[in-house]
Amino acid sequence: MDLIPVITIGVAAVLTALLVIFSKNTVHSALWMVGNCFCIAVLFLLLNSQFIAILQVIVYAGAIMMFILYAIMMLNLRENGEPATKKSLFIFRMALLILFLICLTNLCIGFSPLALKGDMVTQNMDHFGEVNLIANYIFSEGLIPFELISVLLTAAVVGAVYLAKKE
């Protein structure tokens, strides 16, 4: 019964992803990508992680995709025929991808939880992914990586400004 939403959304995600890849128009690609982001966000919701889900919406759909769309529109790309990849190369790459798929599937089949860490064991998994749990983690164990993220973002901002600056 509760498989239905999962499978539906999953199929939607795959479809949108396909459309992202195969759309001729870049703007359409970007729009399908937004759809894909939504699908992922819903999957997160289904996994009881609302905070990550809304982050997905805000960051991906709201900011990054908006930004990409802005860039696409600013470039004002006209549709022009994209040269196809050479056939031999294409076959090789596809073979490689299939191999990769097999490997990943194998890895996931063998997956089992590493260890029950205990800090969440007693809690209801419905509340898994609530903000305060993540916040507790960020401001205790994950503090240094979290601060490093801020450094990364600052660097990105500086870099982007520098690139955009005209001489």
Binding site: R93, L96, L99, F100, C103, L104, L107
Partner: protein, 662 residues
């Protein structure tokens, strides 16, 4: 006051630094200031030396040892080498005349180099550097610091011989001196390391003279002989003895004051000083002693024969220096360390004097050095003539002049001491005879008869300036008076030199060390000199004087009375004449036996090993990796997607690893 000993080397070093760094600017501003600095530095050193020397004289003989440890130089494990100065009769004796004669020659250089085209400050910088090195050499309290000075004087010698380096011959001469010295230094260093390692295995990781000499008896006699011979090899290079004397005559390419200072009075006596310093080692090895004596005698004889035929005024003096150095080693070899050192002292006076006189002559002759083109300078250059005459009389051992006392002492010891023999004495005697001949040949050819120089040169002949003649006069006085400080007992003298040096010689040094150190000498060294038999000494002395007169007379005969005679003799026995003129073909022999094979071997190493094998390896490696890079660079296509594909390959490999291996 002894603690001020560091001032002695520091003054010349300061001179070096000032002139070396700011010399160009100083010279541009005031040329005088350059020599004021240089001479002032050496003069101050001399004053300090003098005060310390006088103070040392004021002490009782058994307390005349002071070790001034300045600062630690090398510290490796238990091995310690410090920059320290040893004040004892021997070092002060050497230091006195090194700074004294050095000062005089510095002053003399002012006149000699004033008109030189080269850089004035450079000359004085080198000269001061030499003084610093030489002082370090004689004052050092350990082998290592002494070796530093030893090498330093070698460097300065090289720099000063090729001072006029724009002339190829001078540069070659400098190179020859340097390389020859390196041969000796190599043996010296080996000997030093051998000494250190063997002493170290007995628990004494030190190269300090006092440590070495107190513990030397721990080593086996054979080892000591080997070490002594290795050291002596070093000395033969530095002090121009057979087989490594060949550089010294060529070293006359440098400015004459340099010849006087380095290649006559001070540096070349470093070997003598060293053997005397290590007299404990040598007295423990009779074989090494006999080698020293034999080599000395042979050198004295050989060099004297070569000097007979040389025409270059400085070459004659150079060979005479070699000969006289042979005398010194002869003295050392027969155990008469004091006599040898006494000769070092007197020799430094009269040989410096002779060189400087010859310099004065060359100066006057506008750089001409060939005696065949001189003559008749007696009246034009009276001061030079008389002083040079005094020098010549001193060197031949004319009674009453300084050479007489010191040379006689050596000859007597060669004859009478246990290590001596009639053969050695005879060689010395022959050399003395030849010395008188060639010295007066030089005097007659240069100062008497008509002037054979070209008209242009003749007009310029003049007496040298005051800065040159005053040192000449001072040295002339010393050449006469210097002998009287060491008049042997046979001549009612007290032989002050021997008594002064006695504390550091043979048994004396042991006693001194015991007094200073409190340790006992384990080995009793035999006393060098036997008791005198005065009558015998008188006889030999008389014989020597006679022979010297013969030599002078012969020279008078051949170069004043019958001036055709030399050519006649040369024509009669062309072979022996040519042999002597070409210096026994020793240079050619070395060229054939040593240099050619070595050169060939070097060429083989260069063309064969270095170019083909080593360069081939290096270049081949470079080429190999260049090929690799050229091949591998095609993976760097710049296409993002190809990179992405390679990521993917890596990811597949990683995933496969985790599935099937991890």
């Amino acid at each position: 006051m002894f603690d001020l000993v560091w001032l002695i080397p520091i003054f010349p070093l300061t001179g070096v630094l000032i002139n070396g760094i700011f010399g160009r600017r100083i010279e541009n501003k005031s040329k005088r200031l350059v020599h004021w600095i240089a001479c002032g530095a050496v003069g101050l050193s001399f004053l300090v030396t003098l005060t310390i020397f006088l103070q040392l004289l004021g002490l009782p003989a058994e307390k005349r040892l002071y070790d001034f440890n300045w600062f630690s130089w090398i510290s490796a494990g238990t091995f310690q080498a410090s920059v320290g100065y040893q004040i004892d009769p021997l070092s002060m004796f050497m230091c006195m005349f090194v700074t004294g004669v050095g000062f005089l020659i510095h002053v003399y250089s002012i006149g000699y180099m004033w008109h030189d085209e080269g850089r004035y400050y450079r000359y004085f910088t080198y000269l001061n550097l030499f003084m610093f090195s030489m002082i370090t050499l004689v004052l050092a309290d350990n082998f290592l610091l002494m070796f530093l000075g030893w090498e330093g004087v070698g460097v300065c010698s090289y720099l000063l011989i090729s001072y006029w380096f724009s002339d190829m011959a001078n540069a070659v001469a400098g190179k020859k001196a340097f390389i020859t010295n390196r041969v000796g230094d190599f043996f010296f260093a080996v000997g030093m390391l051998l000494l250190l390692v063997n002493l170290g295995s007995h628990g004494t990781w030190s190269l300090k003279f006092s440590d070495v000499f107190t513990h030397i008896s721990l080593l086996s006699p054979k080892l000591i002989t080997v070490i002594c011979l290795l050291f002596f090899m070093g000395c033969t290079a530095k002090s121009a003895q057979i087989p490594l004397y060949i550089w010294l005559p060529d070293a006359m390419a440098g400015p004459t004051p340099v010849s006087a200072l380095i290649h006559a009075a001070t540096m070349v006596t470093a070997g003598v000083y060293f053997v005397a310093r290590c007299n404990i080692l040598y007295t423990m090895s009779p074989f090494a002693m006999s080698v020293v004596a034999t080599v000395g005698a042979m050198t004295a004889f050989l060099a004297a024969t070569i000097a007979l035929t040389q025409n270059d005024i400085k070459k004659v003096l150079a060979y005479s220096t070699v000969s006289q150095l042979g005398y010194m080693f002869l003295g050392l070899g027969v155990g008469a360390f004091a006599a040898g050192l006494f000769h070092v002292l007197t020799h430094s006076f009269f040989k410096a004097l002779l060189f400087m006189c010859s310099g004065s002559v060359i100066h006057a002759m506008s750089g001409e050095q060939d005696m065949r083109k001189m003559g008749g300078l007696k009246d034009k250059m009276p001061v030079t003539f008389y002083t040079m005459l005094i020098g010549a009389l001193a060197i031949v051992g004319f009674p009453g002049f300084s050479g007489f006392f010191s040379k006689d002492e050596i000859l007597w010891k060669a004859f009478s001491s246990p290590q001596g023999s009639t053969g050695l004495w005879l060689a010395g005697l022959m050399a003395a005879a030849m010395t008188s001949f060639y010295m007066f040949r030089l005097i007659f050819m240069t100062f008497f008869n008509e002037c054979r120089a070209s008209e242009h040169v003749k007009q310029h002949i003049h007496e040298s300036p005051k800065t040159m003649t005053v040192p000449l006069i001072i040295l002339a006085v010393l050449s006469i008076a210097g002998g009287f400080i060491g008049v042997p007992e046979a001549l009612m003298g007290s032989n002050r030199v021997e008594h002064f040096l006695a504390p550091v010689m043979g048994m004396g040094e042991g006693k001194l060390l015991m007094a200073a150190d409190g340790t006992k000498m384990l080995h009793e060294v035999s006393e060098g000199a036997a008791h005198h038999a005065f009558s015998m000494e008188y006889g030999l002395m008389l014989l020597t004087v006679l022979i010297v007169f013969c030599g002078i007379f012969l020279a008078y005969l051949m170069y004043m009375k019958k001036r055709a005679l030399p050519e006649a003799i040369a024509a009669k026995s062309p072979f022996s004449y040519r042999l002597l003129l070409n210096k026994w073909y020793i240079d050619e022999l070395y060229e054939k036996v040593v240099i050619r094979p070595l050169h060939g071997f070097g060429m083989f190493l260069w063309k064969g090993i270095d170019v083909v094998v080593i360069d081939g390896l290096v270049n081949g490696t470079a080429r190999f990796f260049m090929k690799c890079g050229n091949t591998a660079k095609f993976s760097q296509t710049g296409y993002v997607q190809r990179y992405a594909v390679s990521f993917l390959v890596g990811a597949v490999v990683l995933a496969a690893y985790y599935i099937y291996v991890g």
